[in-house]
């Protein structure tokens, strides 16, 4: 079976073996570093070590009993939720506007709006810090939300733009001729048809904000520290397996969200 071709021109599995090995290696190196923290989080050891010698849930207990960690988690989720709302609204409107207009400037607008994806985040973070300082937005939920929204808008925009490719703008014109105002036509005709891409854009925005660490390191101090910032600092100060527990929880959460997003996309 493995080395006997069915036709003269068929490439056998044996001949393709190198490809399977290569793919296997790629997948291994992509995933294993991520998965490594999962067994480590269930370790009984006081240090991050692999493989663990004995198993326990003590680091999960440590996390759920620490007011600082829970506070940071609350900040992270608040910021992520607010970022999702703001970025989804603005990103969707931007995608809609760029789709609806035939102006030549729309191409430049697209580039401008996707710029935050291209600029190194550390530069963006410095810029944001310097902009926020005089207006007192550093170390606030609002400031974090705005900063993360900058990162999330391009993602929402790209997702929604893709979802809009098949949408016929004439439908909205017909709705308006029948008596619907433009916002109402958008809500009743356009939005229901691009709903799934808007929702997966929203999920992406949420995850981007939740995972973001560079900007948070610069602008999220005091009791407004995000989970990722606290994890980063904890990693520097003490090698504490609590981080592995939190990471595992975050991985589980992100996988769940991304799976949801994929399911929504495929139902488009």
């Amino acid at each position: 079976m493995l080395n006997r071709p069915a036709t003269d021109t068929q490439v056998t599995h044996l001949q393709r073996l190198w490809l399977y090995v290569l793919c296997g290696l790629v997948i291994f190196f992509l995933i294993v570093p991520t998965l490594l923290v999962i067994p480590m989080s269930f370790s009984d050891s006081r240090y991050l070590d692999f493989p663990p010698e004995s198993w326990s849930l003590r680091w999960y207990r440590a996390y759920f009993n620490s007011p600082e960690w829970l506070q940071a988690t609350a900040v992270s989720f608040q910021v992520a939720f607010l970022t999702m709302l703001l970025a989804t609204a603005t990103g969707t409107l931007a995608a809609y506007g760029l789709h609806a207009t035939r102006a030549r400037s729309s191409r430049y607008m697209t580039v401008l709006l996707t710029l935050p994806m291209i600029i190194p985040v550390i530069l963006l973070a410095v810029g944001i810090f310097l902009t926020f300082a005089p207006v007192g937005l550093n170390s606030t939920i609002g400031g974090l939300m705005l900063a993360h929204t900058i990162l999330a808008i391009p993602l929402v925009m790209i997702t929604v733009t893709a979802g809009m490719q098949n949408f016929d703008i004439n439908q909205e014109m017909v709705a308006r001729s029948m008596g619907a105002s433009r916002p109402w036509a958008f809500l009743t005709v356009t939005l229901p048809q691009i709903r799934n891409s808007v929702m997966s854009g929203a999920l992406l925005a949420f995850i981007i904000s939740l995972d973001e660490v560079v900007i948070a390191l610069l602008i999220a101090g005091g009791d407004k520290a995000t989970l990722t910032r606290r994890m980063f600092l904890a990693l520097r100060d003490e090698i504490d397996p609590t981080i592995a527990a939190i990471s595992t929880l975050l991985i589980a959460f992100s996988v769940l969200m991304l799976t949801l997003s994929q399911i929504l996309q495929s139902r488009k």
Binding site: D168, N170, Q171, M173, V174, A175, R176, S177, M178, G179, A180, S181, R182, W184, A185, T188, V189, P192, Q193
Partner: protein, 380 residues
């Protein structure tokens, strides 16, 4: 939807339905000096036109002529640089589309795929806060009107092209708009269905009496359906006339060549009399211009090959038969006039009639009343 009620039988026509309807319900449209430029391109160039109450007006022109731009100005989706548009007495240029009370049908139907057929039809009624029971009743009536009774629960994807077109049509008139705008609504259908729908759209218009503006680039469709046709080219209105007059009396070279098949021969004019290579050509009305160089417009089916002397009401010329082509229902003869001009003559096929041999001299006659002469040589 009063008129719709009528069509479903007198039993439905209550006493309250004697109100304004039909041509009283429709509105005339008055367009003055519309101009719209996109950069250096004149989409509309000083366009003025009057569309009568309840009239079926077709805007006919090649692509890029400005006909769709004009329709979009009427609908409110394009704001002109200049001009005035009145529905009845009311200036509507500054009104947004949703306040203009117009029904619209697009070429690609633009049905809402996330709604059923019935929900598509109910959309404009819900916006007007019509009660649920009445919506159901009116949707049913509208579906009957376009012969789609019982298909209300279908999804849009489940409909054929012709059915979609009917739904789009029903949706555009269910809320009793005062004006109906259609942008090449039949061009996506195949030929047979298109011809059938032409009659249905026209019948619907006649039943509702609604002022209709219909955009097409198909001259046959325009001739079949319209009360009047406005021929548009390069952002300008060339001529507005009933189909027959437009065909028989084109006022510009563009109209003459865009509608039907035409051939041109140079005529010379002196003292108000035209002559074709020395032979006098009579017209039934005085020439519109005194220019010396003018052009005779001839259509193949207006000419006939003649054996005898000209009748009193005919013009005549001679030429050399180059070739005859048998086309089934007709025979087209290509005839050389005065050495270097060629025209075609279309004659009905009759088995008892034989055609002259190629190379022979033929005499061609046509009615004085069919004689159209335009100033200039048509090369602008």
């Amino acid at each position: 939807m009063n008129d719709v009620t009528k069509t479903t039988g007198p039993a439905n026509a209550g006493p309250d339905e004697a109100g304004p309807q039909g041509r009283d319900h429709a509105l005339p449209i008055s367009v003055r000096s519309l101009t719209k430029t996109y950069g250096a391109f004149h989409a509309l160039n000083d366009v003025s036109i009057d569309i009568r109450n309840g009239e079926f007006m077709t805007l006919l022109g090649p692509s890029g002529s400005g006909k769709t731009t004009l329709l979009m100005v009427l609908a409110g989706f394009v704001r002109p640089d200049n001009g005035s548009v009145k529905f009845g007495e009311r200036e509507i240029l500054l009104l947004p589309p949703h306040k203009r009370d117009i029904g619209m049908v697009f070429q690609n139907y633009a049905l809402f795929p996330h709604m059923t057929v019935a929900d598509n039809l109910a959309y404009p009624l819900k916006l007007r806060r019509v009660g649920k029971a009445e919506i159901r009743e009116r949707v049913e009536r509208a579906l009957d009107l376009v012969q789609l009774g019982g298909l209300g629960d279908r999804g849009i994807e489940a409909l054929s092209g012709g059915q979609r077109q009917r739904v789009a049509l029903a949706r555009a008139v269910i809320f009793e708009p005062r004006i109906l705008l259609m942008d090449e609504p039949l061009s996506a259908l195949d030929k047979n269905l298109r011809e059938q729908m032409q009659f249905e759209v026209r019948a619907l218009h006649d039943r509702l009496g609604i002022t209709t503006v219909y955009v097409t680039h198909d001259q046959r469709e325009a001739l079949t359906m319209s009360d009047r046709i406005a021929v548009i080219n390069e952002g300008r209105i060339q001529q507005v006339d009933p189909p027959r007059k437009l065909y028989e009396r084109p006022e510009t070279f563009f109209v003459a060549s865009f509608i039907g098949e035409t051939y041109r021969l140079p005529v010379e004019v002196a003292d108000g009399k035209a002559s074709l290579f020395g032979q006098p050509v009579r017209t039934d009305s005085p020439l519109g211009s005194n220019a010396a160089r003018q052009t005779l417009i001839l259509r193949p089916e207006m000419l006939h090959i003649d054996e005898g002397a000209p009748e009193a009401d005919e013009n005549q010329m001679t030429g050399t038969l180059r070739q005859s082509v048998f086309q089934g229902d007709s025979i087209v003869s290509y005839i050389t006039i005065h050495g270097d001009h060629e025209i075609a003559v279309r004659s009905q096929h009759r088995s008892d009639r034989s055609l002259p041999e190629p190379g022979s001299e033929v005499r061609l006659s046509w009615l004085v009343q069919d004689t159209v002469i335009l100033p200039g040589d048509g090369r602008t």
